[in-house]
């Protein structure tokens, strides 16, 4: 039997709705046997995550797949355990006329987090639709959804590119303020149509530090198993899942619950998802190879 954990494990979620899965995985008690006293928490910024990885304080944590690959390629010993969410990026519009990517021609797009995955994905699908991101649309970047949403609601831009739960938050706030906006385009659909593999972008999953994996493979396995069950549970109990996550995520439970149907929840081990992940990386790298650290990660990146 492997040695017991020196200290209780913390499962670090990302600050977004998919964390409901990890909250449930911990709350269900399924991990207790392998790792007694496991807690759930959420990191607030990538800096906090980077510091946690550097010190080894972050043993199992949710992160985007490309960031994990990047850490892996930089020798930080990061291994991808599974993928939890498969596409949560949407174009929000005021205008009824916008339904496809092609309709965006000549539009003013409000979006955030330049150079990060949402930005790159959007540029990809624009390109596939025959639009030049730098000419055929006006891209108006802001720092984060925190600025994008109020600006969009206040009338700036024709459409806004938002990921969950910001998209749901925008919709809820718009309803309250009587501003008609709607979810106009599902970027994941557009992506899937082009790749031919269906609407699947392996965006966020659970990662583990190499050292922890080596020392406690059974814990990792148990956590993965618990996550798989939690994924199913969350889809079936969206309201409860919202309540379960609300406090840690500091988002209202209804908001989380409403956002859950739009994040394509489905837990698959990294090895099972490898083809999709590699395709995703190939696509990202076609725009910016450095986003995953310059190369696709080797076999040891994929757990399962």
């Amino acid at each position: 039997k492997a040695p017991a954990l020196a200290e209780p494990l913390t499962l670090w979620g990302i600050p977004a709705s998919p964390s409901a899965v990890f909250a449930r995985a911990v709350a269900s008690g399924a991990i207790e046997a392998a790792a007694p006293g496991t807690k759930f928490d959420v990191w607030k910024s990538t800096d906090q995550m980077r510091a946690g990885i550097a010190t080894g304080a972050f043993k199992m944590f949710a992160t985007s797949t490309y960031a994990a690959a990047n850490f892996h390629n930089r020798g930080a010993g990061t291994v991808m355990v599974n993928v939890v969410t498969w596409g949560l990026l949407y174009v929000m519009a005021r205008d009824e006329s916008i339904a496809t990517i092609e309709d965006l021609a000549g539009k003013h797009v409000l979006l955030s987090n330049k150079n990060e995955a949402p930005d790159l994905l959007f540029r990809l699908v624009l390109g596939w639709a025959g639009l030049d991101p730098d000419k055929d649309v006006t891209l108006d970047y802001v720092g984060s959804p925190g600025e994008a949403v109020p600006l969009f609601l206040a009338g700036r831009g024709d459409v806004a590119l938002l990921h969950e739960p910001a998209a749901t938050a925008a919709l809820m706030r718009a309803a309250k303020a009587n501003v008609p906006i709607r979810r106009a385009i599902d970027i994941t659909e557009a992506y899937g149509k082009h790749t031919g593999r269906g609407p699947k972008i392996p965006q966020v999953g659970l990662a583990v530090s190499e050292d922890f994996l080596e020392a406690h493979p059974e814990v990792v396995a148990a956590v993965h198993a618990a996550t798989v069950d939690a994924g199913t549970w969350v889809l079936e109990h969206q309201q409860e899942a919202g309540k379960l996550t609300a406090k840690t995520l500091t988002l209202p439970a209804p908001l989380i619950a409403k956002s859950l149907p739009f994040i394509r929840l489905s837990v698959a081990s990294a090895k099972d998802a490898r083809e999709d992940i590699e395709l995703y990386f190939d696509n990202l790298m076609s725009l910016n190879p450095a986003i995953v650290g310059g190369k696709k990660p080797d076999d040891s990146f994929y757990w399962g």
Binding site: S45, D47, Q48, A51, P165, V179, P252
Partner: protein, 260 residues
Amino acid sequence: MGKRADRRGFRPVLFAALGIALLLVLWQVGHLAYGSLVLPGLGETAVALWRMTFAGEVGPALAATAFHAAGGWIVGALIGVLAGTLAGLVDDVRFTLRPVAIVLLGVPAIAWIVLALLWFPGHSAVVFTVAVVTAPIVFAAAAEGARSLDGDLAKMARAYRAPPVAMALDVYAPHMLSHLFPAFTATLAMSWKVSVMAELLSGVGGIGDGLAAARARVDTAETMAWVVVLVAVLIVVDRLLLQPFQRRAELWRETGGTAP
């Protein structure tokens, strides 16, 4: 006499209230112009503040941020005063520390927050961040204060063989305080902002957390409520701590102030 009493008691409060009223009016005008989505009204903000206070959200967050801000400010101000005084008195120290101060001031927090989190896990990372912003501003003011001391007074003090403590308290401090106070006021006010930002980056809790959460759910009223809490505390701290101290230190300038 009457005039002087005015200066101390009633008038400053009156005109400070005027300044605050001005800001509130601007705020409400902004609200009317842009709507709640950008700038919530005074009313909604008050309601949000009321609700948050009764939900017990404000107290702990305020305590955490106050601890971060005050701790960082005290550490930073202390280091700034000591290093700055030394730099003001010894040219070479000034030449050496000046680029260091510029680096501390010029490098954005996101560039070294990870390092700070490694060195000082948890709360101390925020305290450290605040100290790093405070110290160089106080340093610059202290250096100039020490440098600009009337050389003749220092000569006099040396001639009377004033011991170091007397030199510091009687000769340097009163002159330097005039340079230090504005730096103190500015950094004290900034310390809260910086600690809120560092809380956001390092995820250790405090008003920063509340602000981030309010933003995430596009609750502008709650966002403003947090800002109001912050500003209210700042103005009270300035009024109750800094201003009386400054008035006492500058008494000699004013007494018998009927002069032209």
